[in-house]
């Protein structure tokens, strides 16, 4: 499969449209990973590379989306994802408007339906939405002509995070097939765990989950290994350990007794770090990290810690996603 898609990439002439026999290589929206084929994921990851190459030029901007408008609609606090999308859109020469939700009509009682109508009237070309309500991006995508990117909807999906994770892991392992990734933390409430697990499995990576028994879902794909014990999980010999963020701001409902206990059982403590370092395991984290909770300070200095690469790759991957989506022409 990989060989075939690579061939298509190399051979494909620039000015010739795709033949009707090839799979649909363009979509209007990017809402989740489940609906993407492996070929589509690989196309996005392949194209993120050339975008990343632009970052070393003195002019980092390209005119691909000149004259297009991108609206960010974040109902949940986020600095990284929001600015990552903003940088990505600006490097493609799009005009970016942040719909500042806490100060907008939402607090004045405007319903989501009315907000969508407002967005539609603004004739924006791309809408990037984050909301705690799963399915809201789908709803906006249905109701507007704009291309919609889901930047996180509740515990459902965070597709661009998964894509950047896949791109980052592929940079260190060009052949992902058969590699192992261990995702650690509150799997049950994590859209990152869901999207990244799905993407990794589609790329042939073996996935395992580790966390408190109550937070590691028993339902879901059978081929995902479930661990509740760290030592056992490390004996599985993962190539990469992916730490989920402990969501301090969502601690109103406590899913585990205390942070200290979480760190003791599931954090990368100094002791566990030595073990991971000895095994040469890569470490990833979607950020922002809670030092002393998910990981100890030493991890951040580790040469196989990929957290900073994830940030840079996030911009390249989001540029690839924006470049790939196309508005529905018949609508």
């Amino acid at each position: 499969m990989a060989v075939i898609s690579l061939l298509v990439l190399v051979v494909g002439p620039v000015y010739t449209p795709l033949s009707s026999s090839s799979p649909p290589m363009t979509r209007k929206d990017l809402l989740d990973i489940e609906s993407l084929s492996r070929e589509e994921i690989e196309l996005l990851l392949d194209q993120a590379g050339p975008f990343k190459d632009l970052f070393t030029r003195s002019v980092k901007k390209v005119p691909a989306l000149k004259g297009k408008s991108v609206l960010t609609l974040f109902y949940e606090p986020s600095t990284r994802t929001l600015s990552s999308f903003e940088v990505a859109a600006k490097r493609l020469s799009a005009d970016v408007t942040n719909f500042d939700v806490p100060h907008s009509s939402v607090v004045k009682g405007e319903t989501i339906k009315d907000t969508i109508d407002t967005l539609q009237s603004m004739r924006t070309d791309y809408i990037i939405v984050r909301n705690k309500m799963p399915g809201l991006p789908q709803m906006i995508a249905r109701e507007t002509k704009a291309c919609v990117i889901n930047a996180g909807d509740g515990a459902h999906a965070h597709p661009t995070q998964a894509l950047l994770d896949g791109f980052t892991l592929r940079e260190v392992f060009p052949e992902l097939m058969g590699k192992k990734i261990l995702i650690v933390g509150d799997i049950l409430h994590s859209r990152v765990a869901r999207s990244t697990s799905t993407l990794m499995r589609k790329l042939g990576v073996e996935v395992a989950w580790l966390g408190p028994g109550s937070l590691v879902p028993k339902h879901g794909p059978k081929d995902i290994k479930r661990f509740t014990n760290y030592d056992e999980a490390l004996r599985w010999a993962p190539d990469c350990v992916y730490l989920l963020r402990v969501q301090m701001e969502r601690q109103a409902v406590q899913y585990f007794p205390s942070l200290r206990e979480y760190t003791k059982l599931y954090g990368v403590t100094d002791e566990r770090f030595k073990q991971l370092e000895a095994q040469g395991t890569y470490i990833m984290h979607p950020g922002p990290v809670n030092r002393g909770v998910e990981l100890c300070d030493a991890v951040m200095e580790y040469n196989r810690c990929l957290i900073n690469q994830q940030v840079e790759n996030g911009i390249a991957t989001r540029m690839a996603a924006l470049y790939w989506l196309k508005p529905n022409q018949q609508k």
Partner: protein, 175 residues
Amino acid sequence: MSKRLTESDIAQAVSQMVNQILERNASKEFVLVGIRSRGDEVAERIRSALETAGMNVPMGVLDISLYRDDLAHLKDNPKLQGSNISFTVDGAHIILVDDVLFTGRTVRAAIDALTDYGRPTKVELAVLIDRGHRELPFAPDYVGVDLQTQRMDYIDVKLQGSDGEDSVVVIENKV
């Protein structure tokens, strides 16, 4: 009836370009930049012929996809393969190389892309085939072969590296 170029016609066209380039730049420093896709292969053939003639010329590859003026009108965006320019563009004398010169829109995009890498002192244009019908004010400096075509004709260029054979066919009135 359709016009064709054979493998030896193409080889002759390349050596024609090489001779023109040598004639005017024998003692000058310059670099070659091939435009993806197929312009890079033409550039590589020129580079290798110049090497045989005792001239070592650096070569880069330019992907102009992100600089096209018709992206908003395309159903699918062209697949990005990336550029590879490893020399300093500032102050360089650059010969842009492409397979076919038609409307001139690719050249416009290529010049925009190049200037995002730096400020060349001079940019020239070398094309394997000039088929006419310019929509922008560009003229080539080095031409392998001139082909008389109609505006609606389609020039099907195949080169060894990307298509496994060397051939050019003018398909009339391709819809």
